[in-house]
């Protein structure tokens, strides 16, 4: 892999940009690999990269039914934060944030991680209690998160409306300064390039149609649209399609897949300097380097694999955005789209071994998987390589739904009394 740098750019500028290499190769699939990863999103490609880099396992294929990074990796609103309540969650998300910081250099690919701060708004007494509980827990877990008054919140994000006349006035905010955004496509491409350079095969347009198991139960490989590919170990990292794939191996999952929409505005000069989220009015917003306001909407209420959702969902989202930012009503929605998110009963992911020997699953990230990408890939690679979870992902088992040891971040946000 030829290194990217400002010197490389200057060199190529001199010779008409003719010398750039393919960022990743597109080999024909081999008949067998040590590890097959299903799903070439950020989590899957990250898993392959860390298998190669940290565990020396390079005989790896990442299979993708479409184009790499084309699922939720390329469809999310790129928010990064780790201010989760429970130790388990703070552990895995903060592991990711630590990897984000330095990922560009590690991959030699500018993923544009920008710690511009994530500010979560409180609109009532209950929000204050909930956010302060997070702040206290985060501090003792070594995760930065601080309380802001409404005035401090406005200073941090000038277009924010903190008028007490608002329907749900801002009464405070929790700010994680290390939170921020990154460029989603670059994450997929950066991992793909770095993994490919270490010998990983990335095979696009290759749909998995079956998971083959030996009579004794263990995984032996996958049936694909390009034929059978043998594998000693298979990792399923397929987000919304996890239930479908795991079903091929006879494992039923505690998952449901929902449409999640997002939209961007036309690009404008810098106006929103950070990420702003509000659970009470249901909206989150940031501004991309290109100038588009990036706005996340909610899920539709029904399960679906259609990658589309209803207009009324966007409607509610923009209501909320314009409630927080009344100055934006003259802005225009440029593009909207949908993804398929797989949601677990406790809204926390599953990164674990499965009842099937040689089969591993990384799923259930719901609406917030992007932020975890490096951490998830990193510990999932460990889980596959060592056939045992890393301490960080050890709590994120499948068994917790049987035993009741849930990691219920949604419940922790609780409901208004």
């Amino acid at each position: 892999m030829r290194k990217y740098s400002v010197f490389a750019i200057a060199r190529e500028a001199m010779r008409g940009n003719k010398g750039w290499e393919e960022q990743w190769s597109s080999p024909e699939p081999k008949s067998e690999y040590d590890v097959v990863i299903i799903g070439a999103g950020g989590h899957g490609l990250g898993t392959a990269y860390y298998l190669a880099k940290e565990h020396g396992i390079t005989n790896v294929a990442v299979l993708e039914k479409g184009w790499l990074g084309g699922g939720n990796t390329g469809r999310n609103t790129t928010i990064i934060r780790s201010n989760y309540l429970y130790d388990e969650s703070a552990g895995i998300y903060d592991h990711a944030v630590k990897l984000w910081d330095g990922l560009s250099q590690d991959l030699n690919y500018n993923v544009m991680y920008s710690a511009r701060g994530v500010m979560m708004l409180a609109h009532n007494v209950h929000d204050v209690q909930s956010l302060k509980r997070h702040i206290h827990a985060n501090r003792l877990n070594g995760v930065d998160n601080e309380w802001l008054t409404p005035e401090q919140a406005k200073e941090f994000c000038p277009p924010l409306n903190i008028s007490s006349n608002a329907r749900y006035p801002v009464v405070g905010a929790a700010l994680q300064r290390r939170g921020g955004t990154a460029r989603h496509d670059a994450v997929a491409w950066g991992y793909a390039r770095a993994a490919s350079a270490r010998g990983v095969h990335i095979i696009q347009n290759c749909e998995v149609t079956g998971i083959r198991r030996a009579l004794s139960g263990e995984v032996t490989g996958v049936e694909t649209s390009r034929g059978f590919i043998g594998a000693k170990k298979v990792g399923v990292v397929a987000a919304g399609h996890t239930s479908v794939l795991m079903d091929m191996a006879g494992v039923r999952m505690p998952l449901e897949s929902y449409p999640l929409q997002a939209l961007v505005s036309e690009p404008v000069k810098p106006v929103v300097p950070c990420v702003v989220m509000s659970n009470t009015v249901h909206a989150y917003i940031s501004q991309s380097d290109k100038g588009e306001l990036v706005i996340g909407a909610g899920t539709d209420q029904y399960t679906s694999y259609s990658q589309t959702g209803g207009l009324h969902i966007l409607n509610h989202t923009l209501d909320a955005i314009c409630e927080m930012f009344p100055v934006f009503t003259r802005m225009k929605m440029l593009r909207s789209w949908g993804g398929i998110v797989d949601v677990t009963p406790d809204r926390s992911p599953i990164l674990a071994k499965t009842p099937v020997k040689g089969l591993y699953v990384n799923c259930g990230w719901g609406t917030g998987g992007f932020k975890a990408t490096p951490g998830s890939g990193n510990v999932f690679a460990h889980t596959i390589a060592r056939d045992e979870p890393h301490p960080i992902n050890a709590p994120f088992t499948l068994e917790r739904f049987r035993t009741g040891r849930l990691i219920d971040e949604a419940a922790a946000a609780a409901v208004a009394h």
Binding site: H241, S243, V244, R252, M253, P254, L255, E256, S257, Q301, Y302, T303, S304, Y305, S306, T308, G310, L311, H312, D342, P345, F401, R402, T403
Partner: protein, 98 residues
């Protein structure tokens, strides 16, 4: 916004009048307390989440307030049919080839 046929009201109404209520035909066991942990997990947490035909529950919450069942394709979001709660899971779907 989907258009949903309420089998009680016998008309199509916009999705805003309805609330989705999860997978259908997962009956609560009569002898609940005696279930094994595994069976409880299957009952309460495991979902089929199919890509294709799903049997699901809806409630016409801002209408007749009744719960009913629907058959929908999760790829196209098109409804195949709806039917009243308590009616058996249809074996043959309208429009099905075989």
């Amino acid at each position: 916004m989907l258009l949903i046929h309420c089998p009680y009201c016998e008309e199509e109404r916009p999705e805003l009048e309805f609330r989705h209520a999860g997978e259908a035909h997962i009956a609560r066991p009569t002898d609940m307390a005696a279930m094994s942990d595994e069976d409880f997990e299957k009952f309460f947490f495991i979902r089929s989440n199919p890509k294709g035909v799903i049997y699901e529950r809806w409630r016409h919450v801002h209408g007749c307030a009744r719960f009913f069942n629907a058959v929908r394709d999760t790829v196209t979001d098109k409804f195949v049919m709806t039917y009243k709660a308590g009616e058996p899971q249809p074996k043959k779907l309208p429009g099905a080839g075989k």
